[in-house]
């Protein structure tokens, strides 16, 4: 059962931000509601006012501009899953979207809502980190750009200010000689461990850039620079041999906690397995493209 609340339906980001500023903690942005309404039905959180942002035009587009894919925060998982531009530019992202939740949650749930709720058992944040994504935040008086790495503060906590909205996710197109993989492992409804990997090579098969991020296992997704450092500058073959160590480091960095999804040490181990498999998948994709 939901308790009574009022609904506001602003038509601009500025108005939405002003409403947030005015009503403070008693109000909250409402997008697809798939997280928010669940928590409110459970009685875990309550608001006097929900601010429906779906009447604000223009926040549900996917566009390519100067090599950057711009995704409106209100785009639903379902439209991202089926988006032709995304499929072509960022296939790993489309694939990740296809495997989020079930079709009904994907129809209602938005990418922005997923990120802003910062539920630890979620996929996109982890992948966005290795894709080098920037999140655009906006309020009445200002706009700013936040690197995906900086966005998550803790479980259910982001760096957004109380009157700030997330408006857009900007993802640079993946370079030609690069590969991306996102793998998740789960046992319950939501993912237990997620791992994103980005690798770029030069013409001589040396890894020029490696980005590793882990999610779900701990309170928030995070990059693992130490593992990245191990892989960078190596040939594929050398890197392959170092995957065990890179995985171990990433596992420890995941800050895994023990919960219904499994014990911390098991999740740590899974991080390592996923890293190895993500690496193999990227190599495979590369050789099948070649």
């Amino acid at each position: 059962m939901l308790r009574r609340f009022r609904l506001e339906e602003p038509e601009t980001v500025k108005d939405a931000s002003a409403l947030l500023a005015r009503y403070g903690e008693a109000s909250r942005i409402y997008a697809g509601g798939t997280e928010l309404l669940l928590a409110m039905k459970e009685g875990l959180i309550q608001y006097e006012r929900l601010i429906n942002v779906k009447k604000i035009p223009g926040l549900d587009r996917v566009e390519l501009e100067n090599g950057v894919v711009r995704i409106g925060a209100l785009t639903t998982h379902r439209s991202l899953e089926n988006d032709p531009l995304l499929r072509q530019q960022l296939p790993a992202f489309g694939q990740m979207e296809r495997n989020i939740a079930n079709v009904r949650v994907r129809e209602m749930g938005t990418l922005g809502g997923n990120l802003c709720f910062a539920e630890p058992h979620a996929d996109p944040g982890t992948l966005l980190m290795v894709l080098g994504a920037k999140l655009m935040a906006e309020k009445t008086s200002s706009k700013r750009e936040i690197a995906a790495e900086q966005f998550f503060v803790d479980a259910y906590e982001t760096c957004l200010e109380p009157d700030e909205l997330l408006t857009e996710i900007r993802i640079p197109s993946t370079p030609r000689r690069a590969g991306v993989a996102y793998l998740k492992f789960g046992y319950l409804e939501r993912p237990s461990v997620g791992l994103g990997l980005f690798l770029a090579w030069n013409g001589a098969d040396t890894i020029t850039e490696a980005r590793v991020a882990v999610g779900c296992a701990g309170p928030k997704p995070r990059r693992v620079e130490e593992s990245e450092g191990l892989l960078k500058g190596k040939t594929s073959k050398e890197a392959s041999a170092l995957l065990g160590r890179a995985g171990e480091i990433a596992g420890r960095a995941a800050d895994a906690i023990s919960d219904l999804h499994g014990a911390a040490d098991y999740k740590q181990h899974i991080v390592g397995v996923l890293l190895k498999r993500a690496f193999q998948q990227i190599l495979q994709d590369r050789s099948s493209k070649a």
Binding site: R4, L7, T34, L38, E48, L50, R98, N102, R104
Partner: protein
């Protein structure tokens, strides 16, 4: 009367107009009312079931403009300006939809509690993808839980209905 955090004098009513099973409906809803409750209690259409209440099982599936939604976690005002289809609106003039007929023919249900949601989800799938392969069916239907059948006959029902829906002359 729920003791919400919003004050009683603040009660807000949102006038909405939407199509329910082909008929235009005008009504007022409060912001916190859920679509499932409005469908069941106000319109008396109890074919839409509540089971998990957390968007996992799909018993409460309705189609909004053809898209499957968990009505247990959808606010009623969201129906505004849209076409809502519940299981009661699927048969036309007493003639069963091919999916309904196929579920009967192939034993796609037992207790029947998941069935309205299952059939509507399958309709959404076939409307979008008339010739899904097995993997596509499973992936789409994965969010509809059936505790009785073991899914095999449900999948067979969907495959059979898809064939009928694709047949020329329909």
């Amino acid at each position: 009367m729920a003791e919400g955090t919003a004050k009683a004098e603040d009660r807000q009513f949102i006038p909405i107009s939407f199509t329910l099973n082909g008929t235009t409906q005008q009504t007022q809803v409060e912001p916190h009312e859920l679509l499932i409750d409005v469908i069941r209690n106000r319109f008396g259409l109890t074919g839409t079931k509540r089971s998990c209440d957390v968007q996992v099982c799909g018993a409460c599936t309705v189609l909004v403009d053809g898209r499957p939604m968990s009505s247990c976690t959808t606010l009623a005002f969201e129906a505004r300006g849209h076409e809502v289809l519940t299981i009661e609106g699927l048969a036309k003039n007493g003639k069963l939809h091919p999916l309904q007929a196929a579920f009967i023919e192939h034993g796609g249900f037992q207790c029947g509690f998941c069935t309205p949601g299952m059939i509507l989800a399958a309709k959404a799938l076939l409307d979008q993808n008339p010739e899904p392969n097995r993997e596509e069916i499973i992936h789409f239907m994965e969010g509809n839980i059936c505790r009785c059948t073991g899914y095999k006959k449900i999948l067979e029902s969907i495959v059979a209905a898809a064939k009928i829906l694709r047949s020329p002359g329909r």
